[in-house]
Amino acid sequence: MIEALQFEYMQNALIAAVLGSIACGIIGTYVVVKKIGYISGGIAHASFGGLGLGYFLGVDPMICLMPFSLVSAWTIGLISRKGNVSEDTAISILWTAGMSMGVIFIGLTPGYAPDLLSYLFGNILTVPRSDIFIMAGLDLFIFTAVFFFYREFLAVSYDEDYARASGINTMFFYLFLLTLVALTVVMLIKIVGIIMVIALLTIPPSIAKQYTINLKSMMILSVILGIVFTIAGLWVSYMLDLASGATVIILLVAAFLISAMIKKIKG
């Protein structure tokens, strides 16, 4: 592993692991306590449509990914709050509509779609330097938003009715939170891929939740766990020549099971 660090792709992979873990520790905490894991999965899968559009237009798929994930986040948020459709149904429809559009766009694109698998299953070793800067920018945005609106996000996550009764614009903050989820999803797609994004968003905070009694410490512990397990996953996948994204997830699942068992035994 040490000798591998001289390669730029390995350095990028490590930086991406840290930057991705910061976003997923902070936003994943909200995803877990507000129980919007399924919404996050919907946003991730719907953004596959953006990926397809990117291939079709012949531009960098990442450019189309972000608007697609943002629009699907807002659509799910608005339909579930204002429409007559249940949240569950709204997510299922958007999830599959986005994926179908992606499949059709890719089908319409002549030739073979390069890197398609790396978007679906992630490949942290292919993260270019330019993406590192985008990730750092997104991290900064997410951190700033949560720093300034910590109390509002807390109130909206804990008890939305009470937050509204306190005069907080809960619709705005709910959509803002989904926006941050969408941005985090885009960041994480490079690391673990569309299909496994929710694992990285939910498993580290779920472990952290068992040991913390406030959101701030839950976020910090989630970030640390995220960094440890993405780097460990990277190392294991490098040593054993396995898919990096899947290895990270399997390690996280194992850690979650062990932690849950320890909690259970301790009582």
Binding site: V33, F148, F149, R151, E152, L154, A155, S157, Y158, D159, D161, Y162, A163, R164, A165, S166, G167, I168, K209, T212, I213, N214, L215, S217, M218
Partner: protein
């Protein structure tokens, strides 16, 4: 001075497509301590949400402190039904009660020393000061209810609304909670809703019955007919004698 705080005129409201309130009239004064009783699904929670401005009435008008409810949110304290609050949410008592200060804050404002003082006072009032670092979800039902009341008190309300404050709490603690409310009634008007007819009459000053229609007689006594209309079946007399009696002598 006796001031008019809440005025409902001909209010109807829907919840989940069903009309749960029909043409309500209700006036609450600044020194009132009103208990609203009625069966589950009778619209009690909706009535509170109408007063809070969370549910817009389909017809009629709601005025709170002489204006629309959403303009006076910093003067209303709200204790929601306990089930709705997540038990394993990672938050401690202090942070839970601090939420009560949100209605006095603009965006981008940090908590001030005054906020923490108000929180300390509220925790003192419910005798929970020594629990402030505990995880809220780990507390007993009665303790959590006290925290929720403290959160409402921290907002320095002139009107306190409580939704089933004694549901799933053992009788001894119930009495404690009513004693606490009794000690507060000099400082604010209190409206509480409950399906628990037995206990309420000995503690509140006035009782109203609600099952889609509202019966309010500005006193503690309820005519037996009103209770039967509300519950839509013959009601056994639950009064427990003098001095606390909900029903007239019969």
């Amino acid at each position: 001075m006796r001031k008019e705080i809440v005025k409902l005129e001909n209010v109807s409201a829907e919840y989940g497509g069903n009309t749960v309130l029909h043409g309500h009239e209700l006036t609450v004064y600044s020194d009132d301590f009103i208990g609203i009783i009625g069966p589950n699904g009778g619209g009690k929670t909706t009535l509170l949400k109408v007063i809070l401005g969370l549910v817009k009435p389909a017809t009629g008008s709601v005025t709170v402190f002489g204006t629309s409810p959403d303009k006076v949110r910093n003067r209303i304290g709200y204790v929601p039904q306990m089930m709705e609050v997540e038990r394993d949410f990672p938050i401690n008592v202090l942070d839970t009660v601090l939420m009560g200060r949100l209605c006095h804050k603009g965006l981008f404002k940090r908590h001030t020393k005054k906020d923490y003082e108000k929180v300390e006072q509220a925790l003192d009032a419910v005798e929970m000061s020594d629990m402030k670092d505990r995880k809220t979800g780990d507390l007993s039902g009665g303790e959590r209810q006290r925290v929720m009341i403290a959160r409402a008190l921290a907002s320095e309300p002139e009107l306190l609304l409580l939704d089933e404050p004694t549901a799933s709490i053992d009788p001894k603690i119930k009495t404690d909670i009513y004693d606490l409310l009794n000690s507060l009634k000099k400082q604010m008007a209190i409206i509480l809703v409950t399906h628990d007819i037995g206990v309420i009459s000995s503690h509140v000053d006035k009782v109203a019955c609600l099952n889609c229609q509202l019966f309010y007689h500005n006193s503690k006594e309820i005519p037996k007919e009103a209770l039967e209309t509300v519950y839509q079946c013959p009601v056994d007399i639950i009064a427990h004698g003098t001095p606390h009696r909900v029903l007239k002598e019969h």
